[in-house]
Structure formats: C-alpha cells, structure tokens
Amino acid sequence: MLYFTRWKAAAIVLTAAIVCLFAAPNFIPAKVVDSWPKWAQRHIVLGLDLQGGSHILLEVDSKAVRKDMLEALRDDVRRVLRDARIGYTGLVVRGNGVEVRIREGANSGQALEKLRTLSQPLGGILSATGQRNLDITSEAGNLYRLTLTDPAIIERVRQSVDQSIQIIERRVNELGTVEPLIQREGTDRILVQVPGLQDPTRLKQLLGKTAKLDFHMVDVNVSPEQAQQGRLPPEDQLLHGAGKEASQLYVVEKRALVSGAELTDAQPGFDQRTNEPIVQFRFNTSGARKFAQATQENVGKPFAIVLDNEVISAPVIREPILGGSGQISGNFTVQSANDLAILLRAGALPAPLTIIEERTVGPGLGADSIAQGKISSYVGAAMVIIFMFLTYGLFGLFANIAVAVNVAMIFGILSLLNATLTLPGIAGIVLTVGIAVDSNVLIYERIREEVRGGRTAINAIDAGFSRALATILDSNITTFIAAAVLFYIGTGPVRGFAVTLGIGIITTVFTAFTLTRLIVAYWVRLRRPQRVPI
C-alpha cells in the first residue's frame, strides 16, 4: 500500500496538477484568458442565482398545435375529395380526427383510396418505426374517420419546439443581452435564461407573442353590430382592435391576402407627415406580387392588418401598392414599434407559447449571495483545517493538503465541464470538504487501531490504508447514488448542488486512494518512523 513506482507517483501528481490547472481561468482576468487557446479558456459559469438574471420556462401550446393539424387535415380531405369529384357530406373535426360521409356508396372504394394518400409515414427520428400520421377507419353508412396518431402529434410538437427555439433566439438576440441560453426541455418546453436581465417584462412581451401577421380584406357589407347579432357570414370572422382599441370591432375575411411569412424585412421608423412611430416592412417577390394584385383589385376599400388575431389598423387602400413595401401605423410608441419590428423580422411562432415558470434574481442579491458563499466557505474551511490539525497533528496537515487539492480539482473539473456554479453548488463544495475529511479520518482512525493492535508503525500505516479504502469506496458510492438521482431529477440550483457533490465524491475517492497515500508514503520513506504520530 505504501509502495509507489516512480512513474505511478509521477502520474498521480501530474493528474492532480493538470486538473487543478484547469481551474486557473476562473482566477485570472478575462482579458488575459481571452488570448489563450479555446480549450484552455473553459471556465465555471455562475448560475443565475449568483450573477443575477432571468430564467423563463415556456411551453408550446400543444392543444393549439393539434387544432392546427386537425384543421389542415379537414382542408386536405376537402381538397382531395373535390379534386376527385366525389360527393360528400358532414365533413367535421371530431375528437382527435376528422369525419366525412361519402354520398354515393359506389364511390366509396375510390374515396378510400384517395383518403389513403393523405396518410404519410412519419419522418424524422420516427421514420424507422414505420408509423404513419393517420389511422383511417370506415364505418357503416360510408362514414370514414381519419384519426391523427399520437406519435404524429408529438412529432409536430417537437418540430414546433425546434422552430420556436430558432425564432426565440432571433428575438432574444435583438435585446442585445450577453450569452442568452435557449434550449429544449423535454418534448414541449423551452428554457430561456438571460444573465444580467433585471426586469424581464420586455423579454416576456417578446416571448409571449406569436407574432402571426396577416393582411385581410375588411368585409364592408356586414357591420360589426350585425355580426354580433349572429349574422356573420361563414367566410368572415369578427376581430377586435389591438391594445387601447380593444372595444373596436371589425368584420374581416377569413382568407388572408398575404401572410407575414412573406415579409423579408421590418424596421421601425416615423411617419413623414404625422411623425408618429411606424413599422416599415418589405415583402419577398411572391408576397409583393400578391399584395400588388390585391391592392389593385380593391382600391377604395379598407383592409385589416391583423397581428395575433387583433386588428392593428384597417386603412383604406388609396392606390395600388406595387413596390412590395409598406408601413403599419397604429398608436405605436417608439418602443412598441421597435418590438413589433423585431417580432416581424424574427418570424411568427408556429404555435403560441405559455410562460409556466419564471425566476429572476436581481444583481444585488446575486452579489450578496457570492459574498455569503465566500465567507461561509472560508470560515468553514478554516475551522475544519484547524480542527484536523489539532486532532491529527502532522497527519492532519497531510489531510489538509489533500483536501485543498481536492477542492482545487473540483474547480478544475467544473471548469472543464463549463458547469454552472449556484449557491447550493457552493454548499455542495463545503459539504464535500466534510466528506473529504471523513476519508482521511477513516484512514487515520484505522491506523490508530492497528497501532493499538500491536503492529509496528509502518505496518500499521499500511494496514490502515488498505482496510480503510474499501470502506471509503462503499460509503462514497452510496452518497454518489444520491447525488446522481439529484442530478437526474433536479432543475437549476438543485442540479448545481448535485453536480458539485457528485464531482466532489469522485475527487475525494481519487485523493484518498492516491494523493494522501502518496504523501504519507513519501513521509514514511523519508523518516522511517518508529511510532506513528497520531
């Protein structure tokens, strides 16, 4: 137990030193570190609870996704049957599917064949499973039911999350914040973390809007009052105004002239005549063509600019707009015009997002937490070091060296992993000091016992190490299991705690098995002790 070959000793010291060195970038000014190679720049990231910032968890509205899919499916069924000139009645969305009744029994075979073309194998990661997006069943009376399969819905929600992440990235980047983190959580959630953001109100406004912009004609033949009395034509919808003008109602055609997806650019600006804030936009080629055609046909009539089912404004078309660009005015402030431009540039979300969790820490609290974390660590470490020295003397010093290296290695590994350090994470490090000390206590107490059992000094040290190490391994693995579970179930700060605790256990086992042993072995060789000084 006390014999190390030269290369083994070198390997141990080298490993410990290298791991410790990885912690260096945390203690050197960022300016200096920036000039280093990329791999050496890895450092610990402070959690939002320490540096301040906003954590927002969003959920894709899967009900809305399903509703969109069902409506698209209904339109597909209508198109397929019309194209094949098959008569049908009662085309409705029911439950998780669409129902349709074929008029003439003679057509049913052909109808089924046509409907089957709508059923596609699932793409993406599910393509290997051979599952399809639709189950088609037929019932008595030529009734066909097309049901969306669960994997199809889940796959679409996944896609929505992916698209939303890209759009959110564009929106958040416009805020000019430092290193925002945007990532998927589970199947239908998105985590947005913005360090340093003190008031997330604006961020939430940017995230909470679907930003689906469409241009529709206003139906001037029906007044909003008539529509409210139930005389709303089936091709129209009744929408209300945006913001302060929510009481204003508009009867708007359901069909969109042009959709916001065809915008290529949007910028805030000022109206040349009124000097009011406006948003200027530009269509792509096909959008410009559609817009030109629609405005040519409808000069003198009003059209509505609809954002997320609210009418921003409904100007009258004075002349055909052929250039493919235009402007939106509608009671904007400079900021709201700016925000709308950001939203339009970033694009519309495929489905609405709901904020289901928000945690914001101000920079003051973060700084206080860092200070408290530092003080408590220093005081804790000092007390433990003094206690160990009083209890074990020279061997206590050895233990203190091992524990110090242990903590440095934790910082090194955390840096290597680019891990996040949270306040509970600091608590985890302090507790690791306790565990690390325990491994030394186990060894030393065992040595004391072996001495009492009548062994010679060197023999006792040797036996103490070899017997204590098995115990150290057993006891640390049980704690490690707890840390692993914490990591798995935990979020945010708790996960930070699990990470430092888990890494701490690994470094503790490493130092107990190698470094402490090496130090004691070296001392034994140097001194050839007749009695053990503990």
Binding site: S376, L431, T479
Partner: protein, 313 residues
C-alpha cells in the same frame, strides 16, 4: 504536540442495551413525525404550491410593510403574505397561486410590479405556474424513492440483504424524522428541501455503511462471538471516527448556517438536524442493533471472505 482525543481509546460502551430504549423511542418519534405531517402539514414553498414569491428592497429607509400590505391587498390577488426578511428594508412577498392557469400568474406579477412602482429594488421574483409545481413535487417524491431503491440494491450486492434492509429501515426513519422537523419548524419545503433530504440520506447511509463494513469484518473474524457483543465492539471501534467526522461536518454546516445567508438557511438548518442529530443517532442506535433482529447469517457467501478464524478479541 499533544493531539486531541475526543473519544478515548478502547471505549467499551454497551450501545446494544439501549435498543430497548431507542427502538420504542424511534417508533414513537416516527409516529409523531407522521402525524405531524398529516395534521400540521409542511409549509410548501412556491416550487410545489405554485404562486409568486417576490423579494424587494426599499431604496430609501426601512420598508413600510403596512403600506405595502394595503397596496397589494387592494389588487384582489387573494392571500398576500409580507414578511421582513433579513435587513429592515428587505421584504418578502408571497402570493398564493392565482386561479386561471399559467397565464393568470403572469398577469398577477405584472399587477404587483405596477402597484409597487419603481422605488424598489426587485431582488428576486419567482413565478411558478400550476403545471410546473405539480411536476416538481412528483419529481421530488419519485427521486427520493429512486435514491432509496438504488442504494438498497447497491447494499444488497455489497453486503447481505439483511444489511440492505437494516440500512433502509434506518434511513427511512431519518427521512421521516426530518420531515417531522420540517413540519414543527414550518421551514419552507421546496426543491432545496428535497436536495437536503437526499443529502441526509446519502450522509446517513455513508455512516451506516462505515459501521456495517466493520460489522462484516468482525463477523468474518470472530465467527462465534454473540451478535450483541460483536455489534457493540464494531460500534465502539468506529466511534472515534463517527464523532470526529460529524464534528467536521458540523463545523462546515455551522459556517454555512451562520454566514451562508437567507437563501440557503432552510437547507442548512435541515441538514444540521438530519445529518448531525438524526444520522449519527440512527447508525449507532438503530441501524446496528436492528441486525440482531434481522438475523444476519453467518458463514453465508458474503461473509466467508478471507480472515483468520476465531482469534481472541
């Protein structure tokens, strides 16, 4: 230099005799803790209950809590709790979960921000919707179960099933008592409390495993020693280590408790109770004597390891 000997060498304390006191005592305490949980309840924080938690600091002078209470009370947000938190200009505001799903929580937080105005520093704003809070609680409970189960399996592999069972009884006992403690003190029960419970579990097991390791070693060495005597010897031999280790851990925890600030106060207080008080007691007075009743077999596979036979102790 004269070194500190907190526990004298060769203690011969008869720990096993105390099982006639410790077992009924623990049973009583566990029943008490469980009834506390059901009748007094835990002070669930927003992680598990949903709602709003806002910590504000007034910029000029101490906070006028009565005025803030009146302002917030007029918003129609239901139950609003205000509490001075640390310094006199720090106020913690808790607002119960708003009916109406996730969006309603966001509406509420906007109302509060508007009502309190900008004369305040928002140190912390947490809003947890009903869906997340439900999940967090079930994750927490599942995690605790998983951890206990995983550790049980590991111990079963490393020792005999009696040891695994003994350790599990001992550690469920720890968790139950700690939950009782949380109920009595009405400490906020949130995600960090789950972390505290899991750490207590890990530490307490750590301790139990150290003693079990020794018991196993003794079982191999002294095949004919009566069980209570053998257990006593094992606990006595590891006593010094237990005391020293718990002292160092307590020193570290004490420092966290005194200087770690409010944010981890409930975490460290719980740990202090669970690790230092309960954990130590359990491994000595519950986990070890329980092996007498579980009938640890001798000469079975797990114990026929290397070791001299029947030495004189």
């Amino acid at each position: 230099m004269k070194l500190l000997r907190i526990v004298p060498d060769d203690t011969k304390f008869d720990f096993m005799r105390f099982r006639r006191i410790s077992f009924p005592l623990s049973a009583l305490m566990s029943i008490l803790a469980i009834s506390l949980y059901f009748f007094h309840g835990l002070n669930f924080g927003i992680d598990f209950k949903g709602g709003l938690l806002i910590e504000v600091q007034t910029k000029a002078g101490p906070a006028d809590i009565a005025k803030m209470r009146a302002t917030l009370g007029g918003l129609g947000l239901g139950e609003v709790q205000l509490q001075q938190f640390g310094a006199p200009n720090d106020v913690l505001i808790r607002i119960a979960e708003q009916p109406g799903g996730d969006e309603a929580q966001q509406v509420a937080v906007n109302k509060v921000r508007t009502a309190l105005g900008t004369g305040l520093d928002y140190r912390r704003v947490e809003v947890v919707g009903p869906r997340v809070s439900g999940e967090l609680l079930s994750y927490g409970v599942v995690g605790l179960m998983l951890a206990i189960f995983g550790i049980l399996i590991y111990l079963w592999f490393r020792f005999e099933w009696q040891f695994a069972l003994g350790a599990m009884i001992a550690n469920v006992h720890d968790i139950v008592l700690t939950i009782g403690f949380m109920s009595v003190t009405q400490i906020d029960f949130d995600l960090t409390s789950i972390a505290a419970l899991l750490t207590i579990l890990g530490y307490s097991l750590n301790d139990t495993v150290v003693i079990y390791d020794r018991i196993r070693e003794m079982l191999r060495r002294y095949k004919k020693m009566p069980m209570p005597e053998l257990l006593n010897a094992s606990v006595n031999q590891t006593l010094s280590r237990s005391v020293i280790t718990h002292l160092t851990v307590s020193l570290a925890l004490l420092s966290l408790l005194l200087f770690g600030g409010q944010a981890i106060h409930s975490f460290t207080a719980t740990m202090m109770f669970g690790v230092v008080l309960v954990g130590t007691y359990t491994s000595v007075f519950i986990a070890s004597p329980i092996l007498i009743y579980l009938g640890v077999g001798r000469g079975t596979d797990a114990l026929t390891g290397p070791g001299p036979k029947d030495e004189k102790p």
